[in-house]
Symmetry: C2
Subunit: 220 residues, 2 copies
Amino acid sequence: MQNSQSSSKRFLDIIGELQSLISEQKIEYGDRLPSERHLAEKLQVSRTAVREALRSMELLGLIETRRGEGTFLSDFKKHQLVEVLSTFIMQQARSIQDVVDTRMIHERAAITTVTENEELRMLPVWEGMQSRLREGESVFSREDMVRETIVATENRLSLKIWFLLKQYSGVSFDIAIEADEEVAIVHELLDEMMAGNKEKALICYEKWMDQVEGERRETE
Amino acid sequence: MQNSQSSSKRFLDIIGELQSLISEQKIEYGDRLPSERHLAEKLQVSRTAVREALRSMELLGLIETRRGEGTFLSDFKKHQLVEVLSTFIMQQARSIQDVVDTRMIHERAAITTVTENEELRMLPVWEGMQSRLREGESVFSREDMVRETIVATENRLSLKIWFLLKQYSGVSFDIAIEADEEVAIVHELLDEMMAGNKEKALICYEKWMDQVEGERRETE
DNA sequence: TATGCAGGGTGGTCAGACCACTCTGCTGAA
DNA sequence: TTCAGCAGAGTGGTCTGACCACCCTGCATA
């Protein structure tokens, strides 16, 4: 009938038709969709098929169902988002290097943002980190350091993406900063950040990451 | 029974049980799952319910179904990823500003990468852009300019994320670079990039974005 | 006027049936 | 003996019709 998968994947077609219907009828986020029975009749398929499509959409957060009330379009325009993300995820074919590179893009951006913003530089969290470093608290991990920096930027989207990439890249990130050398580098990084030296802070970051990378290779 | 949604969302429970079953029985990626009928019997639910769960998982790319053969566990370690993604997507709570900021993070990173890499700076695409700018070709849009820069970095993941964010941010990006002022800025940006002046290139970029932002506000 | 109940609509679930497809193993012909 | 071809079992895909649990509304009753 249409693309490669053709006969199979009817529920994907139904999802597509639902999306069309939503845009045609200008259904806004929070509005109610037609009932399952009406949809089945309108699309000329069984209620079973409609439900399979709806459940999938629900799992993706596109819709929300309330028994006795109906099915509602979730707010936000997540549709394309989900679509792109899922194709990206499903295709995989992603070289691990891209994931690492992209993760570092977000990390560098956070360092830059903090370093260039005086208010952010004065946050108590940095002092806390340095004292924890000095005292050699093993609870202070690489992940903590980077995460707090991104948190400080207050860009929660970047934080989410970073978190996701971190899991993906499979790097042993949840490791305490203990080795003297590493402690020194991170200390320097923090110093430069708090001093507002963007270039130097970034250089420290690169040094740090190089070291982490070297360590990873050794353990292979 | 369990969390807030309780009675509703049975299919979510089923998904959970399936995941348990998969890990218990050590089903590897590519292996076949028990048939829908067997699962229904094992989990003591109807085949309908099992199917709704399976279709959801299929849409997420966790499994793959082949008529006449069975249901197979997809490869890749998508599970956590999808989990993170869905919570991220479902929660929304995303301010549009975060989206714009994050998009710019990727754009700045691409400019930086190109500017710092001599090989990338020598790509013919930049010359082409400048001549197109000079000749005032309206086919040359803001989107083209930025996209090509990210393409040049060869980080396809970053490109995907950028593309996604661009769609989201709702900025009129598919606009030709025509105004004299804008042409001049982009020209300068390209010049600085090709000269390898990272700082100046980034300053140009900020100038450009400020102008685009100002323009957007005017048309509101 | 205010309370409470009944009915209709909605999603949630189920059993059972049939179809289309794939694989396997048996049967019969070469 | 070998191999082509067919039949059957098993699988996902779809549909029907039914019942349940729940929510809302409006009407009847106190």
